[in-house]
Amino acid sequence: MSALGTGAAELRQAWRDGRARTALFALLALAAITLAIGWQQQARQESDVAQATAVDRRLWEGQATRNPHSVAHFGQYAFKPAGALSAFDPGLTPWLGTALWMEAHYQNSATYRPAEDQRDQPILATLSGAFVMQILAPLVLIFMGFGLVARERERQTLKLALASGASPVAWLTGKFLALAVVAAILYLPAWAPVMLADSDDARQRALYLALAYGVFLLTIAALIIAVSARAGTARGALLTLLGGWVLMALVLPRLGATFAEEVAPSTDTGQFWRDVRAALEGGIDGHSPAGAREEALLQETLRQYGVAREEDLPVSFAGISMQAGEEHANVVYDHFYGRLQQDEQRQRRVLRGVSLLTPWITVRSLSAGMAGTDAEHHWHFVRATERYRRDLQRYLNGDFTQNAKGQDFDYQADPRLWRETAVFSYRAPRVGEVARSYAPDALLLLGWATLAVVLMLSAARTLGREASSS
């Protein structure tokens, strides 16, 4: 019998099994409900963000005549948009802040992580389209595929099938194709993001996402066939596959997380701000105290303008000093936030190492990356807000320097000054801009797919030997 013939026969048999049909439809229904709720939440979040952004801008522009430095301290808020694909895979969204205050002197971190407001952490995760595809779909495949070969061996029909002249590879490929058809049905929810996409970039991301899940489910299907072909009994195959699922999908990612934290520990908030404060005061090297910097700046400014006293300067030295303070703080923040990012990158590398033991970490990383809900995209947002904040401070301090001479903090600027500032508008990175950073994950997933195929072919050869020895 050809591979296609074997596959078709298996499919007919599977379709006759009411339990299999129920499991498939139940999963698809669950995915549909999950996506509907996810989409509703994402739409609400988008609307909240749009509304808040407009109100914050109105407040910013509505400030009456004030000192530019007071305006800088009032600052602006940047609200992180959810992104269309977060309805399918919220990724790290619950653990990342949603609002960032852009004010003078401080690079604040994003605040209001949804996880802090959720008083009821789920044992594994909240249901989402990604959870269905990553955790539940492989389980349904296991329940439908564990006995495909092992049961034939148990019933003594394996030798019969192979003795009839069928090539073991073709015969096993047929079994694989049958399971691949089931995987294709389970795969349907992975196409939902394509429909949810609201831009060309989102559509492109959704296609990559679907591709990743396609490779993942086929990898799982091939592994199931390989295990089923090597297991002595169907029960043994089921136990091995379920044990593998528990280990790879549930246990190893958590162990990996702990290991990553051990290798590259997260920075404690208190320590982070202690270090930042110390560096702001004494310089990153701890040897350039603020007072000395201020004095050196004054002397340099006096030299530049060719005067001997601060009062003789044609500009406000307070404005120059504030901007110099900002420039110094920028270096400090770049250093310490850069370190946070480096720690995260190290954790990511450690997790990639653990991915050699389980494809679940890889698919999780790819999925959140393509959905734009991972740490990489969050940092992109943080960097965009920081660029805007720095430009804003430079602009306001510039006005202060030019116009506050002799008045300094009593100077009152015309509101047009801040009404004319650029509106902060955030654009998430295009997939092409970040694709490089997911290349290792994509390669790891392909590596797993290759390994699965090799294991399946190796199992086919074993079956051939088994048949010829009888």
């Binding site: 709720i37 995760a125 955790i135 539940l136 089921l238 958590r254 934290e261 404690d268 720690d343 997790l351």
Partner: protein
């Protein structure tokens, strides 16, 4: 004793069961290690923040003695005083970490502290590890131990039925009921030993005895429910394989799908409100207040006649009043969020009864002090402490007095009072016990069945 040994030999016969048992020993040890590590990390964080607060206080005393000014404020200025309010490690963090690692454990209290901004700039820890979750002892008991129970009990009688040994067994033992009870009890010993050893070790490592006991009680009852369920299915099923399949499906439903569905259901029924609205409301109030700062200060002094003779000038006083006014105007918005959270908690309490796993996990983190309850108590106490701090320094601020070294030394310190109450745990234990009794009745009915007997 000999039957115990025989049963143990039977259970551990073969490489696979031994590997599984070794794996669970390793997992239990790992869970303990993870708990001890988290407690050490938490202790270090709190100690560092405490040390920073005391160091700053000692420095301030010295500045006052030497009349040395650092920063913008003169030495002893009430507005420059700062104290930490830190949450000590939860009493049962070794046993259950819950979502405690996510929550901030220190609030910095000053005259200007506001309840809506007690915790700021806390996003420095990596979200990668948080999103993958921790594997603490409670998670191991709730998610993985039922699999051990299923592996041990799925063939309680169905294995003998598969091998056509039921008749022989009945003849040997006199009653199959006795065999079932005997086997069930003995096979429960293994997971029972794991959780008991874990609780004892946690106690030896510093967990309070009543916390360890309450955790052990919930864990034992939860695993007893699984044992009875596995025993019942293991007796009913015609074959060990179908018993295993049914039990694995039950595990999947109760431990994987249902808790995730409950979380989604709560999101749907009572969504977490976006804090974005709170930010905007606060900003609106702040902008309005900034333009009425002097008017506010005058009104405040009229409302507080005890501050007669106060100096109405100075940024610190205006800012203090503006902060109080902001807090009072933002209070209705904050209350809306608090009410939304309470509503969410109520839904969680109702829906959790659908899944013993969700219920037991919630109970374990509650007794360990790593669910939101203890943190809520901490936030409330930190807010109350901020009030005490304000009361202590308000007169100094408005009457223009700076602190003496002795006054600085004797500023209030925050002490966390552990919340009391085990009502939830006793209800939970009662429910699990009831569930166990119901399963035991079902099992007994099955054993009494004529055909089986």
């Amino acid at each position: 004793m000999s039957s115990l040994r025989l049963e143990f030999v039977q259970i551990t016969r073969g490489a696979l069961p031994r590997t599984i048992l070794a794996l669970f020993v390793a997992l239990t040890a790992y869970g303990l290690w993870a708990g001890v590590s988290e407690r050490a990390r938490w202790t270090d964080v709190v100690a560092a923040n405490r040390a920073q607060a005391e160091e700053a206080n000692a420095r301030e005393q010295e500045n006052i003695r030497l009349s040395r000014q650092e920063g913008f404020s003169p030495p002893g200025a009430p507005s420059a005083q700062l104290m930490d309010a830190s949450l000590p490690p939860a009493p049962g963090v070794i046993l259950a970490q819950g979502d405690a690692p996510l929550r901030p454990v220190t609030a910095w209290i000053s005259l200007f502290a506001r309840s809506d901004t007690l915790f700021r700039n806390t996003e420095t820890e990596s979200p990668l590890a948080a999103s993958l979750g921790v594997m603490d002892l409670s998670w191991i008991v709730i998610v993985l131990m039922p699999l051990l129970v299923i592996a041990l009990n799925h063939d309680l009688l169905s294995g003998d039925r598969d091998a056509a040994r039921l008749g022989l067994l009945r003849a040997q033992a006199g009653s199959l009921g006795r065999v079932v009870v005997h086997r069930l009890g003995l096979r429960f010993l293994l997971p029972g030993v794991f959780v008991t050893a874990a609780a004892i070790l946690a106690m030896a490592l510093g967990t309070a005895a009543f916390v360890a006991f309450a955790w052990w009680l919930i864990a034992t009852l939860y695993l007893a429910v699984w044992s009875l369920l596995a025993g019942w299915i293991g007796v009913c099923a015609q074959a060990a394989r179908s018993a295993a399949s049914i039990l694995l499906l039950a595990w999947l439903g109760f431990v994987v799908v249902l808790p995730a569905a409950i979380a989604l259901g709560i999101d749907w029924l009572s969504a977490t409100q976006s804090r974005v609205a709170q930010v905007v409301a606060t900003r609106e109030v702040q902008l309005d207040l900034q333009e009425r700062m002097s008017e506010l200060l005058d009104r405040y002094l009229v409302d507080h006649p005890e501050l007669v003779g106060a100096d109405a000038g100075g940024f610190a006083r205006s800012y203090f009043v503006a902060q109080r006014e902001t807090e009072s105007q933002v209070a209705p918005v904050m209350e809306k969020f608090a009410e939304a959270q309470r509503r969410r908690a109520r839904w969680h309490t109702r829906l959790a009864w659908l899944s013993p796993a969700t219920l037991a996990y919630g109970g374990m983190t509650r007794v360990a002090g790593t669910d939101s309850t203890r943190h809520d108590a901490f936030v409330a106490q930190a807010q109350a402490f901020a009030g005490t701090w304000r009361d202590h320094l308000r007169e100094h601020l408005f009457l223009g007095r700076t602190l003496t070294p002795d006054e600085a030394a004797s500023l209030p310190r925050f002490t966390f009072e552990e919340p009391r109450g085990i009502g939830h745990v006793s209800r939970l234990a009662g429910f699990l016990a009831l569930l166990g009794v119901m399963l035991a009745v079902l099992l007994r009915g099955e054993i009494m069945d004529d055909e089986l007997r």
